[in-house]
């Protein structure tokens, strides 16, 4: 197990290095840079002034030098300066991380708390009316785009209560925090919840047909014990994988949800930074997201081992 962890950690570093190169190169391949966009606000392009600003921002240096400068800075905790706001990139990124982290965490919690129990209920009552209703709910969750659901929620809030949630990034109480984050978290987590529900249902159905479940029933175990002790414990493995993958894909949903609910998190900030070709923000943010995804994958694999003792890595 220890050898496996060491190997995985080494592979993580190699992956992150590869990602850093890809991010850096891809960003420079995208047509246009910050200077073109600055001139867009001025309504023309002046080649001499453009060259001068590119020199000022270090964009005229060879790409390898720019990359080494970035990585060198990163290793020293220096993320560079935002081209747009001219503030340190760390100062711009850091306050936005907890906002998105809370939103993503709550969305995943929502996904698991709703998806797993409803998936189990659906499987246990296979073919019943309740099962059909839950399957329709799950289908709608997979079909409704997050931005549409978000707008519907906002419109309902305005037309029913005459108000819309005011986003306060620094809530003072838990209740305030919950009311601020719950609605957008549900909007973004609805898709994951639906997916979790479907996977839980199919995984449970498969397990419930196994011989050892029949044996448990034959031995007189109660339905609840069979469903929740014997079946769910084994059915939950693919669900954990799905939630892990969803955590990585969540950023897409967060972008639209943060835009619709006007939440100043990192997902919306990333899109805005991309629009401006604000390289120091984009490359550091994408790198941060890459680290999160790689670490989540690692944790999911570790959870596998912890939950299912049959799985042994490297021993």
């Amino acid at each position: 197990m220890f050898a496996y962890i060491v190997r995985r950690l080494f592979l993580m570093l190699v992956t992150l290095f590869g990602i850093s190169v890809i991010i850096f190169v891809l960003l420079r391949v995208v047509p246009g840079n910050i200077v073109d966009i600055l001139f867009d606000a001025a309504g023309f392009v002046d080649p001499a002034d453009k060259a001068s600003i590119e020199r000022e921002l270090g964009l005229s240096q060879p790409i390898v030098i720019q990359y080494l400068h970035w990585i060198g800075g990163l290793l020293h905790g220096d993320l560079g300066y935002s081209y747009v706001s001219e503030k340190p990139a760390l100062e711009e990124i850091l306050p936005r991380i907890p906002i998105t982290a809370r939103l993503a965490g709550l969305a995943l919690l929502f996904s698991a708390a709703i998806g797993i129990p409803l998936g189990v209920i659906s499987a246990v009552h296979q073919g019943s009316r309740l099962d059909y209703v839950l399957r329709v709910v799950s289908l709608s969750g997979l079909s409704l785009p997050a931005f549409w659901l978000g707008l519907l929620i906002l419109m309902a809030s305005v037309s029913m209560f005459g108000t819309m949630p005011i986003f306060n990034p620094n809530p003072k109480t838990w209740l305030e925090a919950f009311t601020i984050y719950a609605v957008p978290a549900m909007a973004v987590g609805f898709r994951s919840a639906a997916l979790t529900m479907r996977i839980t249902r199919s995984s449970m159905l498969e397990i419930l047909r196994q011989d050892y479940i029949r044996t448990a029933r034959a031995k007189g175990a109660s339905e609840a014990s069979v469903n929740y002790h014997h079946a769910l414990k084994n059915a939950v493995l693919p669900v954990i994988t799905v939630i892990g993958i969803e955590a990585a894909f969540l950023i897409g949903g967060l972008i639209v949800t943060e835009t619709v609910f006007n939440i100043p998190g990192i997902a919306r900030f990333l899109v805005e930074a991309l629009r401006w070709r604000d390289y120091p923000i984009v490359q550091n943010l994408v790198m941060f997201i890459a680290v999160v995804v790689v670490v989540v994958n690692f944790i999911v694999d570790m959870l596998y081992a912890a939950i299912d003792p049959r799985i042994r890595f490297g021993d």
Partner: protein, 531 residues
């Protein structure tokens, strides 16, 4: 009797839509909450060409002179003193001298003097060691030889030749006076002005906050404690925020005609006005390369346009047809209707125009069996894309099969500068309703914003002639003649001039939306909240 009733209705309508809401004695206090349509790239008005910068940052500054903030139509007659107490032209109309106020301080406590005026214009004219990153309005000051000072409180603009329009250019929201002791780089992030509001913070993509300047030289002003702009690029969310009461006001002139109906149905008490904004939707033609180097094809293009159809489809009929200068009654320099309709393509019989266009196309070698294939390039923004699609549809009527070429914002101006396009769908906003601004900026040989490199030395002479003319009536006739020639030359065919809406809650007082500019009406020093 009927005519009296009509007159009464007309007067009441004008009062209702004038946008000025005066009610009782102004009250002090409160924060004006406005949503902002996007995150501006910088706080420096001088370096931008979008009112995404003017709207939030104009309250920080003062100009030498300013258009009266409560007269919707900007004109020389509505110019008021601001940092200048008075101004005077010399007898030869070549020197404009300003006497400056002595009681003005920058927000950091330093005194304002004539040196600040000089260094602002030295930077704008490119004569200062300190440079702006971008200087979009350099052409505004090409007739200024230099700015000289006489003591701390007098500054003179010495011109190469008379230019009556200079005063209007100085009165634009685009012409704030910057402090000498603050670098252009600092002005992009932490602007310091003399104006009614002080800069607090600008969080990109989040908010811009301004607070009352207690030392403002106009005693008793401003009434508001501050102004907060929340940046919401998603228009649906922003409008929902307004109708739910989260904002006191929409971003000015940003509510489209179809959206206006939604606002009024969801929030009937909201005060909404629709005004022209001196932004034309036009076509830029690459006349330096085939096929549009052929004047016949350019003329056929101009003849093919059904301008009314654009306005009907896009704005439910709420738009105006005109030439380069904004149409009347909002525009001061618009050609008379009969003159406008005498320009090819402006006649009311669209089918007859198109028949003529088809003949020109056939002369150029195209016809029912041989269509011209081109691309219509435009930016990936709805107000650009939608008219480009209508244009493509209309071009089919004259044997032109066009394809939409949507260009990313970052690539638009580099592409235009490379002349890597045939036709471009473009929007041109005029900051000041004055021919000097429009002609020199958009049509003068060598101007940076003359995207098509249109260069006609004969018309250029007329530009100078009208610019130096001090008799307003003579100048108008020259301007009409030039505008007509620009359309006949298909320099930058104007399709239509848009109108847009602005809404605010009834307790917001003293808001006026300008009818011939989207750039000049955001000082907000006497806006107050009746709460």
């Amino acid at each position: 009797m009927r005519s009296v009733q009509t007159l009464a209705v007309a007067v009441l309508s004008v009062l209702a839509i004038s946008g000025v809401s005066h009610a009782g004695e102004p009250k002090s206090g409160g924060i004006l909450r406005i949503y902002h349509r996007d995150s501006p790239g910088s706080a420096s008005i001088h370096e931008g060409a979008t009112y995404s910068i003017n709207v939030p940052f104009m309250p920080i500054f003062n100009n030498l002179v300013i258009f009266d903030q409560h007269i919707a139509q900007n004109s020389v007659a509505t110019i008021r003193p601001e940092l200048a107490e008075s101004w005077a032209w010399s007898a030869d109309n070549k020197t404009l001298t300003f006497k400056l106020r002595k009681d003005v301080k920058w927000h950091d406590g330093k005194p304002f003097t004539s040196a600040d005026v000089k260094c602002t214009f030295d930077m704008l004219m490119g004569k200062s060691p300190q440079k702006f990153r971008q200087n979009p309005r350099k052409t505004w000051y090409q007739q200024v030889n230099d700015v000289t000072t006489n003591g701390d409180y007098e500054a003179s603009f010495n011109l190469k030749r008379p230019q009556p329009a200079l005063l209007s250019l100085l009165a634009s929201g685009y012409t704030p006076i910057y402090p000498c002791h603050v670098s252009p780089a600092e002005m992009r992030t932490k602007p310091i002005g003399t104006g009614p509001f002080k800069f607090v913070e600008f969080k990109a993509n989040e908010s811009i906050k301004l607070v009352k300047n207690p030392d403002y030289f106009k005693k008793g002003l401003p009434y508001l404690d501050g102004i907060e702009f929340t940046i919401i690029p998603n228009r649906s969310t922003a409008i929902l925020g307004f109708v739910s009461g989260r904002f006191d006001m929409t971003f000015p002139t940003e509510v489209s005609i179809p959206l206006l109906k939604d606002v009024k149905s969801q929030d009937p008490k909201a005060v909404c006005v629709v005004e022209p904004n001196n932004v034309s939707t036009n076509i830029i033609v690459n006349s330096s390369a085939p096929p549009f180097d052929n004047i016949d094809i350019r003329r056929a293009l101009a003849l093919a346009l059904d301008r009314k159809a654009f306005i009907q489809i896009m704005f439910e009929g709420q738009g105006d047809i005109g030439g380069t200068m904004e149409p009347a009654p909002a525009g001061l320099w618009a050609m008379p209707k009969d003159m406008l309709e005498s320009i090819p393509g402006y006649g009311p019989d669209v089918e007859k125009n198109r028949e003529e266009a088809r003949k020109l196309m056939q002369k150029a070698g195209y016809g029912p069996d041989k269509h011209l294939q081109i691309k219509v390039s435009t930016r990936n923004i709805a107000v650009y894309r939608d008219p480009a699609i209508i244009l493509i549809d209309q071009l089919k009527s004259i044997y032109i099969d066009a394809e939409l070429d949507v260009v990313d914002t970052a690539q638009w101006f580099p592409k235009v500068a490379r002349k890597d396009y045939s036709l471009g769908l473009n929007l041109t906003g005029n900051a000041v309703d004055d021919p000097d601004q429009s002609f020199y900026e958009n049509y003068a040989c060598g101007s940076e914003r003359n995207y098509t490199n249109y260069c006609n030395k004969d018309i250029e002479k007329l530009f100078d002639q009208q610019s130096a003319e001090t008799d307003i009536n003579k100048r108008k006739k020259l301007v009409w003649e030039i505008d007509k020639k620009l359309q006949e030359d298909v320099a930058r065919p104007i399709i239509f001039h848009a109108r847009t809406g602005t809404c605010w809650q009834p307790y917001v007082k003293n808001i006026t939306i300008m009818s011939n500019s989207s750039y000049n009406g955001y000082r907000y020093e006497d806006v107050w909240l009746d709460k």
